[in-house]
Symmetry: C3
C-alpha cells in the first residue's frame, strides 16, 4: 500500500551530509509552500536594482509568488517599495512591467495614493472614513550598492548587515544604482528553485556544457580533484591556483577588496563574494573576453580588475569593469523557476556606439539556456522513484553541500 | 511554520460586517467545491431560456461543474431537462452546444431514449433486463417568464416561489419564452465567481470603467455619498433621485410594476428586481440609448418603459422594450468563471432588417470585457498575502455587504 | 455539507458485481496514484519490443509515470533495461525517444556507464570513491516472444510464467524480436486508463463506431444476445459460431495453437489470447482484409491463419500473417492515457515495395481515433455526479465484469 506522506521534519532529519537532498524537497507542493514562506518571505531576497526606476515616477511591478510589490521612485527621488494591493477591495494597482506614474490610482474605484503610499482620495466612503488607516502597506527593503533587497515578513533578519557591510564597499566603484539596464531576459526553468541554485553553485558541469562561458570563466576556481586530472591538466591547475593567489594579493594591496567573504552555513542571510580572474583577454564575460562596453561602469578606470562575484540564495551577480550581469530567481511552482537576468552598463553608454548588444549579452544568454536544460534534466530525474540522494564531490561540490546544510538548518529555524 | 488550513466554519466566523470576504473564500479549492455544492447544486440557478430550444427536438447541453444537463423540447412541445449521462456505462449522450434530435441515442452502444428520457432500446442486455429502471435522470426545473431555472439537488428550495410570483407578472409583456436569441457570447473571467457577482452588484466602478454603458445606465441608481460629489454633481444626483421616484410612481400607476422587490438576505433564493430609468434617449442599452430593434419584444408597445432589471446569485438580466440581455455565470474553478450572455429580440425580428447586430450587442460586449479585466485584477489582488478584507462603502456597496452576509448565512445553513 | 472523502477500501467494497465501477475509481488523484503503484509498478507491463532496439548501441527511453527506463541492446547483443537516472545527482541520462550510443554518458557531469549499467568514470569524486556502488539501477524485464515486459518493483509476480509459456509458442512463428517497426503512433486519450481498457474489452460498440475495423473484425466473436438479433442476424451469428469452432479445430490439428487461454480473474498477471478468424478476404486488418505486406512475418508461410490476439492489462496486440499491431497504454493522469501503437512487419520488408504504409496502418489509426473519442465521452460522463454504475451485458461485456473483479481483487491484494 502507498506510504502516507512523510512529515517534512522527518525528511529534514533524513538528509545525509555530503549527499543531495531527498526527492520530496524538489517535488512536493507543501514543501514548495514552506520554501516560499521561509526563503522568499522570511529571508531577504534580491529583487531588482535602483536603476530599474531611474527617475521620479518610475515604477516597476515585481511578483514573488502571489505577492506583488511595486518598486518605485517617489517625487523626492527616494526609492519606495509598497504592496500592489488596493486597501479597498484588494485590486491590483499596477499591471506587471514598468510604467511611469504621478499618483498610484486604483483603476477599480479610483482610490488614489501618493507615491509614498499615502491614501489621499477615496470617494463615496463617507465623511467618517479614516484614510490614514488605509495607506498602502510598505515593504521592508534595503539598497545594497544599488541592489534592492526586500524582506516580505515583519521581522527581517538582522544579519543582512554583514552582506551590506561587505558589499557596499566592493560595489561602490561600479555605481550600479546610477547605471543602466541595457537588456533583460526571463527564462522559465523547468525545475525546482533549489536545483537552479545547486546548478549555479558548482562549475563541475561547466567545461562540458558552457563553451561560451568557459572562454572567460575558469572552472578550476570552483574546485577540482587533482587525482582526476592528467599530469598536464594538474600542472595547469596548480599554475592557475598560484596565479589566483598572487592576483588576489596584488588587488588587495591596491585597495580592491578581493578575498572570499561568505556566510553560507550557520547564518540566516546566505551570500558569498569573491573577486575572480577573467580568463583569456581578461576583461569581461564576452565571447572573446574583451570588454563589451567602451564606457566603464561607475568610477571604474581599469578593465583588468576581474569579476566581483556575488551569490545569494536567490541570485548570482558578476560585476566587471565594463558591465555587470545580475541574475535573480523567483520560484513559480515546485517544478518551475523564473530566472530574470539584467545586463548593466554605464548610464551614458549608448547601444551601437559604446556597446554592441549581441557581444554584451551572448555569453550569459547561451549559458542561461544551457543551465535551463541541465536543471530540467536534473528535475525530471530527481522525481523518478529510482532516484536516491547521490554523493557530492568534496572537491567541486562543497558549496552544494553547504547549501543543503543551510537549507535544512533554516527550515528547522522556522519551525519545520 | 506555515499555519494549518483554517476550518471553513472558522473563516465564516471571521467575516466582518461591512468588509469584503477573507481571501480564502476566493482562493481555496475546498471552498470552491463547497460553493459549487451549496450555491450551484442546492440553490436554484438560472441556466437558459425556453427560446434556447424553440422547436420540438431542439436540444442544448448545459454544463455546471462536472454536471451536464440537456435542455430540450419534446414532441409534445414541452420543455424537459435531463442528465446528459447514459444509464449504461455513463457515456455522454450529446456533445456541448445545440442540436436537433428525434431520439436521444447514446453513440457508445446505441441505448436509445425518448425525448422524455424513457429508455426504449438497449441491445444485448438480455430478455430479463428492466428498461424502466434505466430512464434518463430528470432534473428539477422551472420556467419563470421564459427563464429556465434548475436545481440539481433533490430538495429544491421552496422560496423560489417568491421569485416566480414577482417575475411572472413583470416579464409577461416581454414574452421571453417565444423570443429569439440573436447573439450569444462566452467570456472566461480570470476570477472567483463571487468577485464576478460583487463586481455586478455595484456601479461605483462604472463611471471610470464603462464609458459605453454609462450612456444609458445611471450609476447614481446604485447609491452615492453626497459628500463625495461636487455641488453641481450633487444637484444633478438629487434631481435624478426625484425623477426616478416620479417615474416609478407613474409607471406603477400605469400598471407597470417597477418598485424594488428583493430577497437578498434572510432568504434562500437570492434576487432583486427594479425598473430603472434608461438615460439619454431613454430607450435601450445601445451606444446612443435608442432602441436596437424595430420589432419590440412580446406585447410591448412602448420603448420608454425603462429597464426591468433582475439579479440572481448567478445571473443578471435587463429587459427593455426592444431587447433583453441575459447574463448567466458558471464557475469553472476557484479562479475562473464563465459569463454567458444572450441578446434576445422578438422572434420575428430579422437581422439586418429589424436590428443591427453591432448596435444590439456592442454595449454589453464592451462592458463584459471591461468587467472581466476588473475581476481579474481584483482576483489577483485578493490572493496576495498583503490583502486584508477592505471596507465597503455604505453608500455604493451596500449590496455587496448583503451578498457577503447572505453567502455566509447560506454556507451556515448547509452545515459549513 | 460535503461528504468527507470515502476510503478506497470502502469504495472497493461498494463495487457491485455485473456493474461498472464507482466514479471515484476513474476520477480521484489518490486512486490514480494507487493504480500506478499496483498495476504499473507491482505488475508486469508490456512496454515495447526487442526490435525497438535491433542493433548493439540502440537505446530507447520509455516513461511510465515519473519512472523513466532505458531499453537498450548492449555490445553482446543482449537486451538491457536500466533506470534513466544518473547515480550522481539524479540527472536524466537520455532524452525521450530513440538514439544510438556507445556508452551511457550523463550530460551533466560526464559520469560514464557501460551499456550494462556499470559505472566506469566519475571525475573529481576522489580516490576513495567506490564506483561499484553507483552502477545504474537495473529493471526486471522479460522478453516473451519478442515482447518486452518489465516490472518496476523488486518482487515481480511469478505467474507471468503462464503468459510466457503460452505465448512463446504462439508467437514463435512471427519472430517479433527480429521484425521491424514500420510505423508508430501516440494518441492521448482524454480518459482514465481503466476506461481505455474497458473499451478494448468489448466489441459491443464496434458496429456503430468502427466501420474500417469491421471489414476484417467480427464483433460476434465477443458475444451477443441472440434475443437482440433479427432472425436473419441470428442465423448469421450461429453460422459464424460454427465456422469459428470448425476453424479452431482445424488450426489446432495443423499445430497452430488457437484456443482461448486466459488469466483474467484469480490471477496476478492478466492476459487473454485466442486465434480469431479474419473476415472478408481473411488475411489481415486492412481496409479490404487482404495482406498489407508481401513479406510475411518470421517463418509464416500462410496468410490464412487468422489473428492471434493477445490482451494484457496495459496492452492489446494482433499478430497476423503479414503484420502485427502492438498497442500499449501508459496512464498519464487520472483523466489522460497515452496509447502507443506500433505496426510491425518483416525486418526485410521495404516500404513502397513490399508494403504500402497507408494500407498497413489506416484501419488501426482510424479505430484508435474513434476509441479515443468514445473513451473521452465515457470519462466525461462517469465524472458527472448523476452517473451511477450501470449494468454490463452478460453477453457482450463479460470481460469488463472480469476486469473490474480482477481490479478490485488486485487492489485488495496490495493492501487497499
Amino acid at each position: 500500500m502507498l506510504q502516507t506522506r512523510t512529515e517534512i521534519s522527518t525528511l529534514l532529519d533524513s538528509r545525509r551530509a555530503g549527499y543531495s537532498l531527498p526527492a520530496e524537497f524538489y517535488a512536493r507542493q507543501d514543501i514548495f509552500e514552506a520554501d516560499m514562506d521561509v526563503f522568499f518571505r522570511r529571508h531577504w531576497i534580491c529583487v531588482g536594482l535602483e536603476c530599474d526606476v531611474p527617475e521620479p515616477g518610475d515604477a516597476q511591478v515585481i511578483d514573488v509568488g502571489q505577492t506583488s510589490v511595486i518598486l518605485l521612485r517617489d517625487d523626492d527621488n527616494e526609492i519606495q517599495v509598497v504592496h500592489n494591493v488596493c486597501r479597498h477591495r484588494g485590486s491590483r494597482l499596477l499591471d506587471a512591467g514598468s510604467t511611469v506614474i504621478s499618483k498610484l490610482v486604483c483603476p477599480y474605484h479610483q482610490w488614489t495614493y501618493e507615491l509614498t503610499g499615502e491614501l489621499i482620495h477615496a470617494p463615496h466612503m463617507g465623511s467618517d472614513f479614516d484614510r490614514s488607516c488605509h495607506n498602502l502597506k510598505p515593504v521592508h527593503f534595503k539598497s545594497i550598492g544599488g541592489l534592492i533587497y526586500v524582506c516580505l515578513s515583519d521581522n527581517p533578519p538582522a544579519d543582512v548587515q554583514r552582506l551590506a557591510d561587505t558589499m557596499e564597499e566592493r560595489l561602490a566603484p561600479y555605481d550600479i544604482g546610477n547605471a543602466k539596464v541595457a537588456y533583460q531576459s526571463e527564462v522559465i526553468e523547468r525545475g525546482n528553485w533549489k536545483l537552479t541554485i545547486e546548478n549555479n553553485r558548482e562549475c563541475y558541469h561547466c567545461s562540458a556544457n558552457h563553451p561560451e562561458l568557459c572562454v572567460s570563466f575558469i572552472d578550476l576556481d570552483f574546485g577540482f580533484d587533482p587525482a582526476s586530472l592528467s599530469e598536464e591538466d594538474r600542472a595547469e591547475a596548480e599554475e592557475h591556483q598560484a596565479l589566483y593567489e598572487e592576483r588576489t594579493r596584488i588587488w588587495e594591496e591596491e585597495g580592491h577588496k578581493s578575498a572570499v567573504v561568505e556566510g553560507v552555513v550557520n547564518c540566516t542571510t546566505n551570500f558569498r563574494t569573491q573577486r575572480l580572474i577573467i580568463a583569456g583577454a581578461g576583461e569581461s564575460q564576452t565571447p572573446d573576453a574583451t570588454a563589451a562596453s567602451n564606457k566603464l561602469l561607475g568610477s571604474m578606470t581599469r578593465k583588468d580588475l576581474g569579476d566581483t562575484h556575488l551569490w545569494g540564495h536567490n541570485c548570482w551577480h558578476h560585476f566587471m569593469g565594463d558591465h555587470a550581469v545580475i541574475s535573480i530567481i523567483i520560484p513559480l511552482s515546485p517544478d518551475t523557476t523564473m530566472v530574470r537576468t539584467k545586463w548593466i552598463v554605464h548610464k551614458d553608454a549608448v547601444e551601437g556606439v559604446d556597446y554592441d548588444i549581441e557581444k554584451l549579452t551572448s555569453v550569459w544568454v547561451a549559458t542561461t539556456e544551457q543551465d535551463a536544460e541541465l536543471v530540467a534534466r536534473a528535475h525530471s530525474g530527481v522525481l523518478d522513484p529510482a532516484y536516491e540522494p547521490g554523493p557530492y564531490s568534496r572537491f567541486t561540490e562543497q558549496q552544494l553541500d553547504n547549501f543543503a546544510t543551510w537549507y535544512v538548518d533554516q527550515m528547522r529555524e522556522n519551525g519545520y
